[in-house]
Symmetry: C2
Subunit: 204 residues, 2 copies
């Protein structure tokens, strides 16, 4: 916040000129384009939220986007309602039946996961769809509700320019191995621990 | 994927009934509502992206949202273009001048950060705005472009129902201490390391 001396300004500029050369060389070294398999996992908050943020970016470029939710059911959420303004670009399928402790029915959970996976394959096969979000797929895989090998093989064999985002904690090592980009959301501090409840606009 | 025996189905149900009781008790114990200070930090990808996903959720509930970008300048990005469909709800201020190695001018960077912080204070003072996103504020603080104590004091003194999201790596300990929710994005695997370049719809 203090005034900058001419010497400091010159030092800063020199340092930044060097840094720019490094940055430019790094950017120049990256030449490939490819459809990414992106995995958002970890115990922290923001895995699905980051996927929906990426969706927003894609929509800004006019892309068609498909969303399949493997756990969440057909209840109203802010993100779904916001998508009413993008109904020309987004296909949203909330195909879960809720959390396992809500359904209390393993056969029903498995059937729901299988239907959701069928929808995912259908969206990934469509040429006009450029981004597919498979929300909480990691949860369905963690409970062995879907065959891991077949799911990873299908994701790996995706069209070369198709981007897919997979969310959910406890990503399987095979999923991580197949991915291009993996982010682990770490929980540093959470307001639930301070007795704050789930609030509209934040959690749903 | 195998068929479920009646015994296994019953065991599963019993376990889930118990789990539901635990979950319900946890939810019941959380009663407070409050505007959150949310910090998305860490070296991984998805910090700003998660903030924009949260914005989408808020917009679905019809909230007014203010965005101030401390580093990014006025270039076109997917998320900004997507917001044209929410021009009734979103005020977006990209007030940075680009990365430090692009401007190469410390005094100019500091002036830009100060202007952005003034805009942030203005948005936080408005009663109709329910969510304010301060994108890359942590970067401006890390370089001491803004007075940390004053920034944290203003954030802490925010209106009790105002939610604020602060993004950027290297969050200061004082910022983490003031926050209600802190997520650290950890980098597990990145496609840049495999020579894939920044692509439309993914990085911008």
């Amino acid at each position: 916040m203090t005034a900058i001396s001419p010497e400091e300004a010159a030092r800063h500029r020199e340092k930044m000129v060097k840094r720019k050369a490094v940055q430019d060389a790094e950017v120049a070294a990256k030449t490939r384009e490819k459809g990414l398999l992106i995995v958002n996992t970890g115990p922290g908050k923001g895995k699905s939220t980051a996927a929906f943020g990426l969706m927003l970016r894609a929509l800004g470029h006019g892309w068609k986007v498909g969303v399949v939710q493997f756990i969440k059911g057909n209840w109203e959420t802010g993100e779904r309602r916001a998508m009413e303004r993008f109904s020309d670009l987004v296909e949203w399928h909330a195909m879960g039946e809720g959390f396992t402790w809500e359904t209390q029915d393993k056969a029903r959970d498995i059937a729901a996961a299988s239907r959701a996976w069928d929808k995912a394959k259908e969206l990934m096969a469509r040429d006009d769809v450029r981004l597919v979000i498979l929300d909480e797929l990691n949860i369905a895989l963690r409970y062995d509700y879907l065959p891991l090998d077949a799911v990873v093989a299908t994701l790996t064999a995706r069209r070369s320019d198709l981007h897919v985002v997979v969310t959910g904690r406890n990503a399987k090592p095979e999923m991580v191995a197949a991915a291009d980009l993996v982010t682990e959301a770490g929980l540093v501090k959470h307001h639930f621990a301070a007795g704050v409840k789930a609030q509209e606009g934040i959690e749903f």
